[in-house]
Amino acid sequence: MATATLPNEFLKPLRVFASLRLTVVCLGCGMLLIFLGTLAQVHLGIHAVQARYFQSLLVFWSPRGADWKIPILPGGYLLGTVLLVNLIAAHATRFEVSRKKIGIFLLHLGVILLLLGQLLTGLYARETQMRLDNGQTLGYSEAPREVELAVIDVTDPSFDQVVSVPEEVLARGGTIQNPTLPFTIGIRRFLPNARLTMRAQEPNAPVSLATTGFGPNVVVTELPRTVKDDERDLTSAFIEINGVQGSLGTWLVSNAIADRQSFSVNDHSYELIMRQRRFYKQFALTLIHFEHDRYAGTDIPKNFSSRVRLLDSERGENREVLISMNDPLRYRGYTFYQAGFDNNDTTTILQVVKNPAMLLPYIACGLVGLGLLVQFSMHLFGFVRKRNR
């Protein structure tokens, strides 16, 4: 890594990236990004801001109603990547590995890991929720802000075969084909948020795209996506099932409709439902009891905890676990935090986090701390030695 070991033609372009000015510009842009992102939360909500400002390469702006956009700021991913390259390039061109600089080297390694950890978390971590009523057993968690179209083959009496089409695929439109299905699914229209009304209440509403199921009796009005943290979109879509014989009809599916709609093809019975996207696990949890302690004589919460039974036939696990506010359950790469409760303290809400990069920030902070300790200690000892001389 020392200057002398790298040939000059490699160093030239590296020096551009190693510039301290670039560091300052990046940090400045970062501050501006955080400031503007915070302001934008008012109109966009925290989830959209995270995606547009921080988990993106560029931040775009477009005037109201226009269908073009221009980049106005580097996004979080771009800034993080440039800072990462900048730091590594600086080490390659300017820093020399010596015993004296070992502290700074460790410190920078920590910062590099921190940046990498954040990038990996942004790309790979997933947060979902598990809602368990007293006595209920669930083997899946749900994404609170993402839907899926589930096409369920219910023919077999002992199991269901589910084809899950995520929201992103529905939003793209077009026709969906899956080798396990003897038909195609055409997305006639996708509405990220909509209001559903009975046709009887809006008799002069235009005729529905839907030809079968609940759809023909329901009027669907598109709404802008919600930006509020405590609200949820009611996502709807019109989908057409096409078999070998031709169209079987167009259905309206929506996560506002809790009931499944059924049809059959080739002696197989299928059910359609739009619901919060599910993530099945290799294990299941049963809520034995949810405890909500209050300070004596008041309504002030003291502690929330869920006693659950962990069932994993693959690994032979069948044991009770207590999940409380600062004591999550960690199992098979998932972390279950106590996040909320409902229904008169008979339902628990667990936040389910899967983050493969979970350990990186801890390692990074350890390295930064160690680096600082080494660097300051060397200075201190040097100073003391000088004084004693």
Partner: protein, 348 residues
């Protein structure tokens, strides 16, 4: 390590097999974004202590027995069917350690509340389910309304809850649509959120007098409409005309105009902009505020330019909304007929 949950699987269709599920009692964790159902009010019997409503609770009460034991009364509403009657009764049965039932007819007894069906539920545990060794009882009222379902529930020691049965039934009987909130906008019938029958408020009042313009057809009156017409044009399109009256200001002129603007996908305006853009029509001694709204482009299904021409009148503590909606061409053709109609209309 990362491959198992990488970002790429966001956009992938997955196929999996799962054991058969029993019907879940779905309880959505968040409010829906698309408006709420009707608001309700009730009267609490004597002796019930009001508790602060929290979380999902719309209301909360406490009843104390002679022995110091307490029963808890909660009022909760969830969007849509919230898991259905059977699902929720089974959830309550589970709380009392009772086996689930499968016959919906056994789930609850229908009782009439505010002219609609409510399902009365009475459950008692077979054994003690609380540490104090007493049996527990749940009295409940499940009230499906357009767009949401309300749950009235009393839970506590068997003896105490049993003693409160009459009070609880009287409480259920007192449930009614909230007068202050229900008619917030002119046609809130269209504002509810779910495929369910029309809401509670029926149209009332004397018949209206008017001269029917040429080509207009009278339509049957619905829940909110004092008069209702259809004006077809030769191209197969038609304009829908409605006359609605509501007590009070029904949300005010601006709120209603902005709601209509939203229906034709126009952005909201403020009081000044409304004053600038709206015209007034003097007819039969009334001063109507007139608005004419056209969508910027084709909307709806099939996509077409949509238009709303409407007149608002506030008189004698009532708000009147006379509104014509439909495809732009059909509405445009009926503009002068609409004005003639207003001139002929006698507001009682």
């Amino acid at each position: 390590m990362f491959a198992s949950c990488g970002p790429s699987d966001d956009s992938k269709i997955t196929v999996y097999r799962i054991p058969k599920e029993t019907a879940p009692a779905a309880t959505p964790p968040l409010n829906t974004a698309a408006g709420a159902g009707p608001a309700l009010e009730w009267s609490a019997p004597a002796g019930w202590e009001t508790q602060p409503a929290s979380g999902f609770r719309k209301g909360s009460f406490l009843v104390k027995g002679a022995d110091g034991k307490t029963a808890d009364i909660s009022i909760i509403s969830f969007p849509e069917q919230a898991g259905g009657l059977l699902g929720n009764v089974n959830r309550w049965r589970d709380q009392l350690k009772l086996a689930p039932i499968t016959n919906e007819a056994e789930a609850g007894t229908p009782i009439s509340v505010a002219g609609r069906d409510m399902f009365f539920v009475d459950l008692v545990s077979a054994q003690p389910v609380t540490p104090d060794g007493a049996k527990s009882r749940i009295l409940g009222g499940i009230f499906p309304l357009p767009g949401e379902t309300w749950f009235f529930k009393m839970m506590g020691p068997d003896q105490l809850v049993e003693a409160q049965r009459d009070a609880f039934k009287q409480f259920l009987g007192s449930v009614r649509p909230a007068e202050s909130v229900a008619p917030a906008t002119a046609d809130n019938a269209g504002n509810t959120n779910a495929p369910t029958p029309p809401p509670i408020a029926p149209a009332a009042g004397a018949a209206l007098q008017y001269t029917l313009p040429n080509g207009w057809q009278e339509k049957p009156l619905s829940t909110m409409r004092r008069a209702s017409f259809n004006a077809p044009d030769p191209n197969g399109n038609s304009a829908d005309i409605s006359v609605v009256s509501l007590p009070g200001t029904a949300g005010g002129e601006l709120a209603n105009v902005n709601r209509w603007r939203d229906q034709v996908k126009l952005g909201p305006i403020d009081e000044q902009a409304l004053a600038r853009s709206a015209e007034h029509l003097q007819a039969n001694g009334h001063d109507y505020l007139m608005v004419d709204l056209v969508s910027a482009g084709p909307i709806g299904d099939p996509p077409e330019k949509q238009r709303i021409v409407a007149a608002i009148l506030n008189e004698n503590d009532h708000a009147w909304f006379i509104k014509m909606t439909g495809p732009d061409a059909a509405v445009d053709a009926q503009r002068s007929a609409f004005t003639d109609f207003l001139r002929s209309l006698k507001i009682p």
